[in-house]
């Protein structure tokens, strides 16, 4: 009997068992929707207020080099919501540099104070300030806006302040193809909670293997005249199918309730979902193969998933706080970070499979899937077959 046929038989049997447990199915599929809904609405409400955010980075390029521009920048430096860069003692940066850095995703907001700034003020005209921004950082707009207002009132007087700030942020507005009801936080929440719940669901699917050993069925599977590794592949296939169903429900919910346009680029969405599913399934299989009992698997997986979700930004986009490089490295070690980055790249940033960064994210997810699958297979054979 071929390995594939054996794996299909096992997956079919596991699906049958899975859907027989109606309470389990209801919890497995409804709980993620409830969580996405709760988190989504909380984020929607939270992003409606100022949220008491901490400082955000704003780079400034002084092209006027006048007394007035220096005074304005000095006031910006005092703003309670801004961390103005470069520092006073550091070398100035130019427009080309900040444009390149924002395009590369290294900076998110930069203000150009153009030549003629002082002259415009003398003529009692609104200076033509230019704001460069990463559209992925919508929450920072509010912090920048508050800081600009504070500085403008002090440096330029209240007449100019509101008009200038409003015009600048309008010009730096959202890309036209993005739904205006969607916010960065909402699409992040749908992706983040979705990935986290997918991990919980697929670890539960993986523990079927341990349950079969504890209930004494595994010896019958292992003594069948079939490829023993097919047992693991059967579980893998089962988990993939359950995961695909779970993702379909989650993103349908995200689309209809929160306006996440998952099918804006169907190919990219399928590619990201496929890679995320493979990686998360491999993670579930690895946990199931590593644990000796269901309780061990549940404990280990809960710890790993919660840590990865917190550190990887599934609950809240940590990158909004400009974390230090060390934290960014830790974030990049989590499956959740790469999965969420990939979904955000297509949902929010509007990228497709032609984008090098998205392709790199998918390669990382696939690499994780291959490594975790190989480790799970080796552990399975060592634990269940060679020492059966």
């Amino acid at each position: 009997m071929s390995t594939l046929a054996t794996a299909c038989s096992i997956a079919r049997k596991d699906l049958r068992l899975f859907f027989r447990d109606r309470t389990g199915v209801a919890l497995g599929f409804l709980l993620p929707l409830v969580l996405v809904g709760v988190f989504g609405f909380v984020m929607k409400l939270a992003s409606g207020g100022d949220g008491g955010m901490s400082r955000t980075s704003l780079w400034v390029v002084d092209q006027d080099m006048s007394e007035a521009s220096r005074r304005f920048i000095s006031e910006l430096r005092k703003a309670s919501t801004l961390n103005l860069k470069p520092a006073e003692s550091a070398a100035a940066v130019d427009e080309a540099w900040v444009r390149r850095e924002i395009a590369d995703g290294e900076l998110h907001h930069a203000l150009l104070v153009p030549a003629g700034f002082a002259a415009a003020l003398e003529r009692r005209e609104l200076p033509e300030l230019t704001m460069l921004r990463d559209p992925d950082r919508e929450l920072d707009d509010q912090l920048v806006s508050v800081g600009l207002m504070q500085a403008a009132i002090t440096a330029l007087g209240p007449d100019f302040a509101e008009a200038m700030t409003t015009r600048m942020l309008e010009r730096a507005g959202l890309p036209p193809e993005r739904s205006r009801q969607l916010t960065h936080m909402l699409s992040h929440t749908v992706s983040g909670i979705g990935v986290m719940m997918l991990m919980f669901g697929l670890v539960a699917a993986g523990t079927q293997l341990i349950r079969e050993r504890e209930e004494g069925v595994l010896p019958r599977l292992l003594t069948a005249p079939a490829d023993r590794a097919a047992i693991l592949w059967g579980k893998y296939l089962f988990a993939l199918l359950v995961g695909a169903l779970q993702l379909t429900l989650l993103f349908s919910f995200g689309t209809f309730v929160f306006g996440v346009d998952v099918l804006r680029d169907p190919l990219a969405f399928l590619a990201v979902s496929g890679c995320v599913l493979l990686a998360v399934t491999a993670f579930g299989m690895l946990v199931a193969a590593a644990a000796r009992t269901i309780k061990q698997a549940e404990g280990l997986s809960t710890l790993l998933i919660l840590v990865m979700s917190a550190v990887g930004g599934a609950w809240f986009p940590l990158q909004l706080f400009d974390p230090p490089d060390a934290v960014k490295v830790v974030m990049a070690c989590t499956l959740t970070d790469w999965a969420i980055r990939s979904y955000q790249a297509i949902f929010w940033a509007g990228k497709g499979l032609g984008d090098a960064e998205l392709v790199r994210n998918l390669a990382v997810l696939l690499g994780f899937a291959v490594a975790a699958t190989a480790a799970a297979r080796e552990l399975f054979l060592r634990r269940y077959v060679r020492s059966a």
């Binding site: 009997m1 049997k13 027989r20 004494g216 010896p219 292992l222 003594t223 005249p225 060679r386």
Partner: protein, 262 residues
């Protein structure tokens, strides 16, 4: 005192189906099977008796391919036999484990169909095997009820049918009657005797001496991972120096009265 039946004439001279020579297996430092050797003839029910921790289950696990022996050799119908490594060799053996190796949330029919698929059966041969299994278990009328609704005896019968599903020439039965009522036990005995009549060879372990005496053509008594005596019940009684004694007396004489907890 029970009268000891003689060996069945039909199997007394039959050729060996399975030959085990100097089988050895250790769990780390603990040697569980230490040079076990015996031959099972075609068509016989061969009993493997021993106290807890004697090495019976480890021997069975080596024979069905769950464990790879550390030393010794196995031959099936005169050919080398390596079920732990060779999937095709496992086709020759059916296992009826001590635990109920069934899915409680599947029906009897679904359980048998799944295990049949694992053995490579498809289509009409699978349907025929499932029907034969349900008949063997006496569950044809309740085939579409979930196993969790069955009594312990019904589950035991289904456990036996699942082991025989792919029609293997050799069945390994590890305490198949543990915890069943007299009616189900009697049904199991009749099923096993029917399998023998159909030409199957059975290796049977049990703690119930009267079962072994009723069913087994020959018996090996093992302890400490070694075979202490082998033969028909009458021959064992002779070897133990208790001619005419029942199997329990022989067993206690050979293995001692010390309690075994593992």
């Amino acid at each position: 005192m029970t009268t000891v039946p003689p060996a069945r004439p039909a199997t007394a001279t039959a050729p060996a189906l399975l030959e085990i020579v100097a089988l050895r297996f250790a769990y780390g430092e603990r040697v569980a099977v230490d040079g076990v050797g015996f031959a099972i003839r075609r068509g016989e029910i061969f009993g493997l008796l021993g106290p807890n921790g004697a090495g019976k289950s480890t021997t069975i696990r080596c024979l069905c391919g769950l464990l790879a022996p550390a030393a010794g050799s196995l031959a099936f119908a005169g050919r080398p036999f390596a079920p732990a490594q060779v999937a095709a060799d496992r086709r020759a053996v059916g296992i009826v484990p001590q635990e109920l190796a069934l899915y409680d949330d599947l029906t009897a029919r679904e359980n048998l169909a799944f295990f049949g698929e694992l053995c490579g059966l498809r289509g009409a041969p699978l349907a025929a095997a499932v029907a034969r299994g349900l008949a063997l278990a006496g569950l044809a009328e309740r085939a579409d009820e979930r196993v969790k609704t069955y009594s312990g005896g019904m589950k035991r019968r289904l456990n036996l049918a699942a082991g025989d599903l792919h029609d293997p020439p050799l069945l390994l039965l590890d305490e198949p009657t543990a915890g069943v009522d007299p009616q189900s036990r009697n049904h199991l005995f009749e099923s096993l005797e029917a399998l023998r009549t159909a030409g199957k060879t059975l290796l049977y372990t049990t703690h119930y001496m009267e079962e072994a005496q009723r069913l087994c053509d020959r018996i090996a008594i093992v302890d400490g991972g070694r075979v202490l005596a082998i033969g028909t019940a009458a021959e064992l009684a002779q070897q133990a120096g208790l001619p005419g004694a029942d199997l329990e007396a022989v067993f206690l004489k050979l293995t001692g009265r010390r309690l075994r907890d593992a």
